[in-house]
């Protein structure tokens, strides 16, 4: 179908590509040719030189070339561009024709082949005559070419062929197809990558290396080239990973490495050289670990689950594999020697290609060219492998891994690797290092309680210590492993012999025979618990100590000595159990004879001793329990339980036992269930229990200021004489400091204490007390302040006692404490009142007033008032001789005694002032049935009072009562107390109850100091208590002195008696 007129021709639209024709290839039937063709056109990437390839037959007819015009004169074109031209140059006329021809340099029919080739070239040339098309020849060869310049035949024949075909040397190529074409491309890609790196174009380098890597795995692998493939793959992988890390894409690096390992893991190659594969694998992991580590140093962050340690670990794993395989494959008969001539020797001393065998370099076919040579080569490699120090490699890798895991918080992984290191050292016969490492990690496994792992480590450690003749370690490990000391199985036989001689030496050495094992760091097969029977013992009873020992081993066990060290070493001699009973001081020697431990049975050993009197109040601790296995005369092991209990496992075991719901089986008599034995590793020595009674007799509460009597009665209940009885009594120390200031104690109660008396009377000697005797001692306590006090009565004495046939002097003491409350005996209330018993705020000069005292008893006990006295200050005077009105009065609880004193104040200056009144002294004592008590004087300060002058004083003179309808004369005295003349207005108000005569209203003048008298005759009209007619006084000059104030001095009422009937005796009497 013709294209539409306006369509652009396809030749125009496509991208113009140079046309190269390949001839001489049979892509249909020949696999090699097909592969060559595929290499050119399959998956050709855009970044390659753009070329269009075509396979053409060797005798293909190319379009004939027209003869070119020499000039364009007379030329008349038929059009502009011919329709066929573009297609012709794109698809029909090649720029280059490549002739493929199968021909090896050593082909037997070289001559014929050469001419045939020349003919083919000629055919092509002829067909393209007149065109500028180039011709090239590619020889497809079965054999790998030798390096240029070495093969003389090849160079000679190559030039001959060039001559025959009329080709330049540059147009002749050799393509060895055994190399598989890809090999060439890999090399190419690798070189490109390398050059890009030189150009610092790492992105492109990575791209090329990646291509190269994928191509490597396209190679057909067989036994003879596996090593080469792996070597190159390893190289390229290293480059890729390094670049990935450099590009900060660590995940790509890891992914690439994983892919690499997955692809190569199974490519073991020759089974006889399997160790080569593991060595290679180990190296892969190691170098990746190095790269990873390098990247971390440059700032990459790794994590716990992805760090170089894993790669080193895996490298170590493969190194271990390698060692094993080497052990299998390289254990030749002793007669087999290193083959001569050395098959690993090459003429140049080095290999031409990486990863090839020295004895067949360049050999590319599947089968080895020379089986004998191959055998020799393998033998040589095996013998060389034998000499490699595998352990060193493994240990180096492991220690690398350890360092990494330490960094990334993997303590268990680290321990595991250290175990492997230790085991490797063991294999390398470096037992010291092995032991050191194993010892280090054993502790971790022990605390983590992974017994299975610990057991396996212990086995190795045991072997090490055996082979080193380390007696102590050996015994320690076997103690924990519970093994019988015999030559260790699975040991290197040569080492066993040296070890045996070592053992002989060690054993014969004197002084080397004692070993102490601190069991708290191990889990031995003997368990021990030591306990005091009580957390405290009195000095007059023996201290008892039980030691429980149990063996967990399968065989019965005999020990020669059991000794306990206590914090006071003087007692150690009593806590010793030896095979030959020498010690006489052991209290119960007869029950202890059995020094054989039966597996699973708990044995109990009892010890007793008498504590020393100076240890009273001190603690005795079990510092350790030692169990001696072996003989003191010979060699022995000393198991030492610090604190008398516990090894590395016991705390957990105890916890489990306490949680357990298991029923404790009833054990036959004398048998103890191990788990129920509790540990008591210390005890207190306390003083003997006193056998005396201390009784206190007193009448609480105490009254403040009194000499409070307390009677102490001490009665001996001892069987022997209590000597040096001493009483300490008083305020118990450690209370409020104010109490110490306000408390006194005295032996004499007749006089009141002063400050010279102490609050605590120590060590009052009371002499000796015979059995049953009694001492009564009164003590007097003087408490100034109120509140509770704790009083202490401490009786100390010494007495002889016999404990376990030992005489000791025991100090005993008994404390009694009592809390005594102190209260005030009475309250005193004082007040100033007028003679009308009205409360006074202030008193007036020269006007008498009353001082009232109320004594209210607050004491629960009766109080007898002995005397009372007012000591007046100078500003007050008593009007009559003040005499106590309460003397001899006994007050019961809440009863009140009152008295009053009539006083007046002499004139004061300034008209008003506040003055002190003086003191009130009450002498009293407690009325006690117990005995005479002393008199206490309590002084109360009288209150201050305000004294004032008054301008006018009024007082009335009248009978004490009136009678109805009988005259009642009342005389009012009005005194002017000022230096001025006073105008006074006086009036009397009328009253219903009285008629009266006198001045009803008057105004008068009173001279200074003068007194005016007013006389009235009142005539009562009603009986009963009546209000008197009110007298109003107005001072015209002193308006502030009101009538009300003055009225206070006057009586307001009077009692009016009814009128008596005539002849009534009572009225007569009145």
């Amino acid at each position: 179908m013709r294209p539409a007129q306006w369509d652009l021709p396809p030749e125009l639209c496509c991208r113009p590509l140079a046309f190269v024709a390949l001839t001489g290839l049979d892509v249909v039937y020949n696999a090699i040719h097909r592969a060559i063709w595929d290499a050119f056109c399959a998956n050709r990437r855009a970044d390659r030189v753009p070329i269009s390839f075509k396979v053409l037959a060797g005798d293909h007819e190319y379009p004939k070339c027209r003869t070119k015009r020499t000039s364009y004169e007379w030329y008349i074109p038929k059009g502009i561009v011919k329709t066929g031209w573009m297609n012709k140059h794109l698809n029909l006329v090649p720029a280059l024709v490549v002739l493929f021809y199968e021909l090896d340099w050593d082909d037997p029919q070289w001559k014929e082949k050469q001419s045939e080739c020349a003919t083919k070239v000629e055919v092509v040339r002829t067909s393209l005559q007149g065109r500028n098309t180039k011709v090239a020849v590619v020889l497809i060869q079965k054999k790998t070419p030798l390096p240029p310049g070495e093969d003389l035949v090849a160079s000679e024949r190559a030039s001959a062929l060039c001559g025959a075909c009329d080709l330049s040397g540059k147009s002749l190529f050799v393509l060895p197809h055994t190399d598989h074409l890809v090999g060439y491309i890999i090399r190419h890609q690798f070189k490109m990558g390398f050059f890009s790196e030189l150009k610092q174009d790492t992105q492109n380098a990575l791209k090329y290396y990646r291509t190269a890597y994928s191509l490597v795995h396209e190679l057909r692998a067989h036994e003879s080239n596996t090593l080469e493939i792996k070597t190159i793959a390893g190289f390229i992988n290293y480059k890729i990973c390094r670049l990935c890390f450099q590009h900060n894409t660590p995940l790509d690096a890891i992914a690439q490495f994983r892919k690499h390992i997955d692809l190569c893991k199974k490519k073991i190659g020759s089974a006889e050289l399997a160790f080569e594969h593991t060595a290679w694998m180990s190296k892969q992991f190691q170098s990746f670990g190095d790269l990873f580590d390098e990247a971390i140093k440059l700032g990459l962050t790794a994590i716990q689950t992805q760090n170089p340690g894993f790669y080193y670990q895996q490298a170590a794993y493969y190194a271990q594999e390698r060692k094993q395989q080497a052990g299998h494959l390289c254990s030749h008969e002793p007669g087999v020697g290193y083959p001569a001539p050395d098959p690993l020797e090459t003429s140049s001393g080095a290999l031409d290609f990486y990863g090839q065998r020295a004895w067949r370099q360049g050999h590319q076919s599947i089968d080895p060219p020379d089986t004998e040579k191959e055998k020799q080569g393998i033998l040589a490699i095996q013998i060389k492998e034998r000499d490699i120090l595998h352990s060193e490699l493994i240990i180096a890798l492991l220690s690398n891994a350890v360092a990494q895991f330490k960094k990334y918080k993997c303590p268990r992984m680290k321990s595991h690797l250290m175990v492997q290191m230790g085991e490797e050292y063991y294999h390398a016969k470096d037992y010291t290092k092995a032991l050191k490492l194993l010892d280090y990690v054993m502790c971790d496994y022990r605390t983590e309680r992974w017994w299975s792992l610990l057991t396996s480590i212990l086995c190795t450690a045991l072997k090490c210590s055996y082979l080193m003749g380390q007696v102590k370690d050996y015994i320690t490990y076997s103690m924990e492993l519970n093994e019988v000391p015999e030559p260790e199985p699975d040991c290197d036989s040569a080492s066993v012999i040296t070890a045996q001689s070592l053992w002989c030496d060690r054993v014969s050495l004197a002084g080397n025979n004692e070993f102490t094992i601190e069991v708290q760091d191990y889990v031995p097969f003997v368990q021990c618990k030591a306990k005091f029977l009580s957390p405290s013992f009195h000095i007059d009873e023996p201290v008892q100590l039980h030691v429980y020992v149990r063996a967990d081993c399968p065989h019965p066990l005999r020990f020669s000595k059991l000794c306990i060290s206590l914090s006071n070493q003087d007692y150690n001699q009593y806590c010793l159990l030896e095979e030959a009973q020498k010690g006489k001081d052991i209290l119960e020697p007869s029950t202890q004879e059995n020094m054989c431990l039966v597996p699973g049975k708990t044995r109990k050993y009892c010890f007793k001793f008498v504590a020393k009197t100076e240890d009273v109040g001190k603690k005795i601790e079990i510092t350790s329990v030692g169990l001696m296995l072996g003989r003191e005369t010979g060699r022995y092991v000393y198991l030492n339980w610090r604190g008398g209990w516990g090894d590395a496992a016991s705390s957990h075991e105890a916890l489990q036992a306490s949680r357990s719901f298991k029923r404790r089986t009833r054990l036959p008599d004398q048998q103890v269930d191990w788990d129920t034995v509790s540990v008591q590793s210390s005890t207190m020595i306390i003083s003997r229990v006193p056998k005396i009674s201390v009784q206190l007799t007193h009448e609480p509460p105490a009254l403040s200021n009194e000499m409070y009597c307390m009677t102490v009665t001490i009665q001996s209940e001892e069987d022997a004489v209590a000597k040096d009885l001493k009483l300490t009594s008083g305020l118990k120390p450690g209370q409020d400091a104010n109490l110490t200031q306000s408390t006194r104690i005295a032996l004499n109660g007749s006089e009141v204490c002063d400050d010279s008396h102490p609050a605590l009377l120590p060590d009052i000697p009371l002499g000796d007390l015979k059995p049953g005797q009694k001492i009564v001692k009164p003590l007097y306590i003087h408490c100034v302040s109120t509140g509770p006090r704790v009083l202490l009565f401490h009786v100390a004495y010494s007495v002889h006692a016999t404990v376990e046939d030992k005489d000791i002097t025991c100090k005993c003491h008994k404390d009694e404490t009592v809390t005594v409350e102190t209260v005030v005996p009475f309250e005193v209330a004082m007040k100033f009142v007028s003679r009308k018993f009205e409360h006074l705020e202030r008193v007036y000069v020269d006007i008498p007033f009353l001082l009232m005292m109320d004594i209210l008893s607050a004491s629960p006990w009766p109080i007898e008032l002995m005397d009372s006295e007012v000591q007046l200050a100078s500003s007050m005077t008593a009007i009559d001789q003040p005499q106590s009105q309460v003397e001899g009065v006994t007050l019961q609880t809440n009863e009140c005694a009152s008295e009053c004193f009539l006083l007046k104040c002499p004139p004061v200056q300034n008209g008003t002032s506040t003055v002190a009144s003086g003191h009130y002294i009450i002498s009293w004592k407690r009325k006690s049935v117990l005995g005479e008590t002393s008199v206490v004087k309590t002084i109360v300060t009288l209150p201050h009072v305000m004294v004032e002058n008054i301008a006018l004083y009024v007082h009335a003179e009248m009978p004490s009562f009136g009678r109805v309808r009988e005259s009642l004369p009342v005389r009012y005295h009005i005194e002017n107390r000022t230096g001025l003349v006073q105008d006074v207005e006086i009036s009397v108000e009328p009253s219903d109850a009285f008629m009266f005569s006198g001045l009803k209203q008057v105004r008068m003048r009173i001279l200074p100091g003068a007194e005016q008298e007013m006389l009235y005759n009142f005539y009562p009209l009603k009986a009963e208590y009546q209000v008197l007619p009110q007298l109003n006084i107005n001072l015209l000059r002193f308006p502030n002195i009101s009538s009300q104030l003055l009225r206070r001095f006057l009586p307001s009422h009077i009692f009016v008696k009814p009128q008596g009937r005539n002849g009534d005796a009572s009225i007569e009497a009145a």
């Binding site: 716990q304 309680r449 298991k662």
Partner: protein, 138 residues
């Protein structure tokens, strides 16, 4: 299916550990023990994470030959399942369900009034459940 199943106490000692007999038992013990490093780290990190109820810890770490998965109960008892690396058919969900089954069975063990928490697990039922999850070796 698992090649090794372990139950680890809160204090990190083994309560139960079972592995296929073919390969060294000790090796699995070490594998389980070392995996506790990661478990510890994950547990200590959980406090910060939002979801504390997620008991499944996922893949702890891959070794060349095995994959180690972890699970931790609320009482900090750990379960560890080791599977062969070549066993690619095993999905995460299946591992989860294995753990769930294990947890259920463990709860039953704990509910036994005669079981003393912290002791080695010696339950036949638990053993049976574990057996169903192990690689069947004939």
């Amino acid at each position: 299916m698992a090649v090794c199943i372990a139950v680890i106490a809160k204090e990190n000692y083994p309560l139960y550990i079972r592995s296929i007999p073919a390969q060294g038992e000790l090796k699995f013990h070490y594998t389980v023990h070392t995996s506790l490093d990661v478990v510890e780290e994950k547990i200590s990190g959980v406090g910060k994470a939002a979801d504390q109820r997620e008991l499944y810890l996922g893949l702890l770490y891959p070794t060349e030959d095995y994959k180690v998965y972890g699970y931790v109960t609320n009482s900090k008892v750990k379960f560890v399942i080791v599977v062969d690396s070549s066993n690619t058919s095993l999905r995460d969900n299946e591992i989860r369900s294995m753990f769930r089954k294990l947890h259920n069975s463990f709860t039953d063990v704990m509910c036994n009034p005669f079981y003393n928490p912290g002791d080695q697990i010696q339950s036949k039922t638990f053993d049976g459940i574990v057996s169903t999850m192990m690689v069947q070796t004939s």
